[in-house]
């Protein structure tokens, strides 16, 4: 941003952010203010507002390890991510479905509470389409409010939730998995699943083919849904062909059984994160980055770019979710 190396001057360039501090020092300070305080501080001046909104306001530190201190402990929550933030939505708090959301900003390693949803949810489906978070299910539809708000949309910019109208027949309770493919959000329920076209506002059913092969935590790369089939293979599903195909070419680079395998699209590559060697009091968390390609007629091929241990965690830990963030 500014010339940070010129420390010899006795007359630092005046900052528009904090006039008595050089810009990069002012940024150091402002970047450390928790995001829940950003709205009120964006009233200080226009440059403050654009700094607080800007994803490029450089972080004082990068988070390299997974966050470990959420102020509440939730199970059955879902974590979509937008930019540098991971949204942990709902989940059970003391066995009650919560309507709260927690936002983890990876730039500053900080948890913040977000605005509450209209209904409490656990084991809901969530996905991001066009910068907005769609959440559906995970709640009983036993009253009017819960029926109307079975699906909700969150706008992170305005910080507000709104109901998404849904037909009564799609309102399943528990959602096991979800993914966004080409602007459509897919959510798997006990039997079958729903697909919501966020652009057209239309609801539909998930095809049986997709439902049958979808195992747990999946990731979408280049329009193909990938998941681990628990038999030793990664499979990919192409919506247009309605068929699961084995991802070939990765057998040598990956162990056969990927315990607790989670996948995520990281910058166009398929990243697989799994629980590796357990020793004494610790578990190794492994990660592999795979370049995947759709090949005409022959199916899906991949090559392992790298594979390594990325973290060591205490033995009782397990991978719940995996999200890619931009820093």
């Amino acid at each position: 941003m500014t010339d940070q190396n010129s420390t010899t001057t006795s007359d630092p360039p005046s900052s528009v952010l904090l006039p008595n501090l050089p810009d990069h020092v002012a940024l150091q300070c402002i970047a450390r203010v928790p995001c829940s305080h950003h709205p009120s501080l964006s009233l200080v001046s226009q440059s403050w507002r654009s700094t607080l909104k800007s994803p490029t306001s450089t972080p004082p530190e990068r988070s390299s390890a997974a966050p470990n201190t959420c102020s509440t402990s939730t199970s059955g929550s879902v974590p979509p991510s937008i930019g540098s933030k991971i949204y942990v939505i709902g989940g059970a708090v003391n066995e009650n479905p919560s309507n709260g959301i927690w936002v983890f900003d990876c730039r500053f390693n900080k948890w913040e509470m977000g605005p509450n949803m209209r209904v409490g949810r656990e084991f809901a489906a969530a996905g991001v389409v066009n910068g907005k978070i769609y959440v559906m299910g995970g709640c009983l539809v036993d009253n009017w409010a819960r029926s109307m708000n079975w699906a909700e949309i969150f706008d992170p910019v305005s910080g507000s939730w709104a109901a998404v109208p849904s037909p009564i027949e799609v309102r399943d309770k528990w959602m096991h998995a979800s993914a966004v493919i080409c602007g459509k959000m897919y959510a798997l329920a006990d039997r079958g699943g729903v697909v919501y076209d966020a652009v057209a506002g239309e609801w539909g059913e998930v095809s049986t083919g997709m439902d049958m092969g979808w195992r747990g935590r999946a990731a979408v790369v280049d329009g193909v849904l990938y998941c681990y089939d628990y038999l030793g293979k990664i499979r990919g599903y192409d919506v247009e062909e309605d068929e699961w195909k084995e991802l070939k070419g990765v057998e040598k680079g990956l162990p056969k059984f990927l315990c607790g395998a989670t996948m995520v699209n990281m910058g166009g590559k398929l990243c697989v994160v799994w629980e590796g060697k357990k020793s004494g009091k610790e578990v190794e968390i492994m990660c592999a980055e795979i370049e995947v390609q759709k090949e005409q007629c022959r199916g899906l091929s991949g090559s392992v770019v790298w594979s390594a241990m990325i973290l060591v965690v205490p033995i009782r830990s397990s991978i719940v979710h995996c999200a890619a963030v931009g820093l």
Binding site: T7, L18, C29, V33, L43, S45, Q46, S47, R49, P60
Partner: protein, 166 residues
């Protein structure tokens, strides 16, 4: 992190060298062990390039602030200090009013002491976050460049945040 001061200590062994830092604001002088002072990248560069004489003049930093900086460096040069001790000591150093913190962060920036810059910026951030925006403007001399209409619009944009949201 913990090994850095030790390395520097070994490098300056066997004789214990000292440096004199002099505040050019009030001419106060501080005699400091070299390995303590070398935590400042600025001073290290001066020493490395043989630009440092017997007394190193430190412009724009008052004796009061320089004393805080040296206290920080001494703490962090002590190889037997635990992380916990250092945290407590750091908290003590930055437990100051906002105006002192601004001077301290400028000193940390000028002397290029990363750790001190971080703890001081964090403390400033902690102080800023609970201040009304009008006070932030006043303390830091930020000019309010919003028209009343714009200010209302920004406020409306974040309405939810002003409705008693934590």
């Amino acid at each position: 992190m913990a090994s850095a001061p030790e390395n520097e200590k070994n490098a300056s062994a066997p004789e214990k060298k000292t440096l004199t830092l002099k505040s050019m604001i009030n001419n106060e002088e501080f005699v400091v062990d070299e390995h303590v002072a070398l935590q400042s990248v600025t001073i290290k560069n001066m020493v490395d390039s043989d630009c440092a004489g017997d007394v190193i003049p430190v412009p724009t930093i008052s004796g009061e602030i320089l004393a805080l900086v040296i206290e920080y460096c001494k703490n962090h040069a002590n190889p037997s200090a635990s992380e916990d001790d250092l945290k407590k000591a750091d908290a003590g150093i930055v437990a100051k009013d906002i105006y002192t913190l601004i001077d301290l962060v400028l000193a940390a920036n000028f002397l290029d002491i990363k750790g001190l810059l971080e703890v001081t910026s964090q403390k400033i951030a902690d102080s800023i976050k609970d201040l009304p925006h009008q006070d932030v403007r006043e303390i830091f001399g930020v000019e309010n460049d919003y028209t009343p209409e714009e200010e209302a619009a920004v406020r409306a944009e974040h309405d939810w945040a002003f409705e008693g949201f934590p």
